[in-house]
């Protein structure tokens, strides 16, 4: 059986125990919106989509508990109805691979550590997971963290499972911190800046009292700033920002629909056509240098997080994107590539040997048999069938 869909944590435990007995690896899959990230691989797919639904939501406490297979869109609609949000701005990656949006699950978003443009000021997925229930590679159900917004009891395993890509545990239930949605959100646009000037402007804005919540440079050129909060504050801060950045040119406030479309393109990598899609994380001051070195190779480049995240789409698989990132003190994640490229270039940026060894020991602490090691990240011993 190549795919199973358990309906409870206990069934999920059994699925993992069965796979071990059968000597096959397990790939935990939510909506499968990012299944094409990482090397092509063979594994038994254990779907989390049967573990769906809201367990508890208490808006006044800013806490939401949901099952891991709940569609992201459902979670977002639920909190939006209470004028709240997931402040790390998760998004659906289906469109990156030509699939419609809607498949992404909340478990997948957490397991991949996905965050949008607001991450630069509101924090990432890691900063909003308060606790969880999961099944380890030992096929044991365990809990960690708590269901309140402030907690330091025991090791902070919530951080560890966020962005662990299904290699430590299968998440079954998540407790998330939610926050009020800003009453007003204004997007200001600044035209005509190249990447270097744009980064200077973005860093200045992020370090100022204008309290911009996001800053990005759209692939077509405009630099975008978001100012969100209560009306009188937004008005005052927009004025401050315009004044502070006047040497760069006039700022123009955008209509909401137009603004949302631009943020989506600058902040989620969508609409960046090209066979290869890279996502580079770098200290923002070095972003112009990376952008300059990519300029002659890349089809489209977007800067997000004030320059700290660079999306680049290319056609040519041999461009040394990873060394360009490394030379600037950053690192590069390969999100989209043809199968042959994915089979040889690891999706994740390689770590220093000491850190890689420590990570491997940590993985074995949760998954002693390596049942979750599908070979997807090309950093384990060869994962051929026995």
């Amino acid at each position: 059986m190549n795919q199973v869909q358990p309906d409870s944590a206990e069934q999920l435990c059994d699925a993992i125990a069965d796979a071990k007995r059968d000597g096959v690896r397990v790939e935990i899959r939510g909506g499968g919106s990012k299944a094409r990230i990482g090397a092509p691989r063979e594994a038994r797919i254990v779907r989390t989509t049967g573990l769906s639904g809201v367990v508890a939501y208490d808006p006044a406490e800013l806490v939401l508990t949901v099952r891991a297979g709940t569609p992201l869109a459902e979670v977002e609609a639920l909190v939006a109805a209470e004028r709240q949000m997931l402040a790390f701005e998760p998004f659906d990656h289906g469109p990156l691979f030509g699939a419609p949006a809607g498949a992404a699950t909340i478990g997948g978003v957490i397991a991949a550590g996905v965050a949008g443009s607001g991450r630069v000021t509101a924090g990432s997925a890691r900063d909003h997971l308060l606790g969880f229930t999961a099944v380890s590679g030992r096929s044991e159900v365990f809990v960690a963290g708590g269901k309140v917004v402030k907690n330091v009891t025991g090791f902070d395993l919530s951080k560890l499972v966020t962005g662990s890509w299904g290699r430590l545990v299968a998440l079954t239930e998540l407790t998330l911190k939610v926050l009020p949605r800003p009453r007003v959100s204004a997007t200001l646009r600044l035209d005509g800046l190249g990447p270097a000037a744009s980064c200077t402007a973005m860093m200045r804005a992020l370090g100022s009292h204008a309290e911009v919540s996001a800053a990005a440079r759209h692939p077509d050129g405009p630099t975008l700033f978001r100012v969100a909060g209560f009306e009188p504050s937004v008005v005052a801060r927009c004025a401050l920002l315009s004044q502070m950045l006047r040497e760069f040119g006039p700022l123009q406030r955008l209509e909401e629909d137009m603004a949302n479309a631009l943020w989506r393109q600058a902040g989620t990598g969508s609409d960046l056509d090209g066979a290869m899609l890279w996502c580079i994380h770098v200290g923002p001051r070095r972003a112009p240098e990376v952008a300059a070195r990519l300029a002659s190779h890349a089809r489209r480049v977007a800067l997000d997080w004030g320059g700290g995240r660079i999306w680049a789409s290319l056609d040519d698989p041999v461009v040394p994107v990873r060394s360009i990132a490394r030379a600037a003190g950053g690192e590069a994640l390969l999100l989209r590539a043809p199968d042959a490229v994915r089979a040889t270039i690891p999706a994740q940026h390689p770590r220093a040997p000491g850190v890689a060894a420590l990570e491997a020991r940590v993985r074995r602490a949760f998954d002693p048999d390596g049942v979750f090691e599908t070979g997807r990240f090309l950093d384990e011993e060869p994962a051929h069938a026995d």
Partner: protein
Amino acid sequence: MSIVMPVPDATALKNRDAIAAALRAIVPGDGVIDDPDALRPYESDGLTAYRQPPLVVVLPDSVEQVSAILRWCHAQGVKVVPRGSGTSLSGGALPLADAVLLGMGKFKKVLDIDYDERIAVVQPGVTNLAITQAVEGAGFYYAPDPSSQIACSIGGNVAENSGGVHCLKYGLTTNNVLGVELVLMDGEIVRLGGRHLDPAGLDLLGVVVGSEGLLGVVTEVTVRILPKPERARAILLGFPDAEQAGACVAQVIAEGIIPAGMEMMDKPAIHAAEAFVNVGYPLDVGALLIVEVDGPAAECDHLIVEIDRIADENGAVTRRISNSEVERLAFWAGRKAAFPAVGRLAPDYYCMDGTIPRRRLPDVLRRMEELSAHYGLGVANVFHAGDGNLHPLILYDANRPGELAKAEAFGNDILRLCVEMGGVLTGEHGVGVEKRDLMPAMFSEIDLQQQQRLKCAFDPQLLLNPGKVFPRLHRCAELGRVHVHGGRHAFPDIPRF
């Protein structure tokens, strides 16, 4: 003193002189302390009911020395307890009779400040406040602000994942740290995180923060710094009882306002604070709330009026808005002095630290009153109201036989109550020694064993800060046991450790 520490290793005790000599070869000069009188200042941290002089103290001043010390201790099987400024309230830095106490006090340098990227790189012995002092000239600050900030070190903050009154809006230490340099127990030096966000691979940085000195020794920290808010304003609110104050807090948040700070005090705490600092707190109220907003002037001026309205709707009988910095600081003076003020009510006090869902506050306070009567000990409450983090201060007299034990039993009952109400054992002070044996109230044996396996990945011989956090330390070999079917492992190609 109800917590039993592990039985000291006789060999280490016997080899004390040789251990001191070996450490002197690594850290020359006055960096090794073994004179019994000179050890005394190190015998406890902020949890002063527990005292134990260490085997020896070593005070290195470079990462190379830290690495050499740990490598040597690892090879010899000698235990190590890391220490920052020794202000932990949970006994995290409590020495062990058979362990080297590794003091990080000489790591005092601010290494790099980058205002464009809004980060500061500092050594772990730099105090929390010193980071802000290093960057405030340029209009920046470091946001997490534990009340102990003049004394506590950033290394200790990382180990405890410390918070402060501003953490509802700005987060705990973990949300403000970008990277660390860490020395593992075997002496290996690793860098986790760094100058950019969301590095590839497992978030080991995230789990090192809050690991209470059990996973490694932090030798460098990269923190995020923020532009100092243009303005801060506070409002002082008195309510007939905690229920109404709690309803006010809930409505503030429901209306979409996340204040910079939101602190509550109960009647005993209000009276103690007012008697101590005389700032004009109302004495006829059951609960006092201080709400602070910060940010652009336009925002503060708008929000403070909104909060005033919400307080009025929830039955506040005192409402005073700060109109100057002097006034704002006066509102805070009583809250900031709450611990020493309560300290005047009794010879000793014991500070607890649980978190509850905020809506359970009235139930928790009622039950606490019953417990107070049962134990015959007074209690005053200060409360980080925005995030549900409760600090009951239990009053006792250590000189009266049995009172310390009674205070501890009372404290344990309060923490169990927090868990029963859907909360947790500790919101910011850590488990340490103090709450170690209460961990089973929150976690099953399976949960705890999974946490301990993580410890084994970092420190398989369990030499770093043993006796803390886990009620029972299992040997790593015992925890690592896996079921082997038919005499073979499921995946023989996967390396095992």
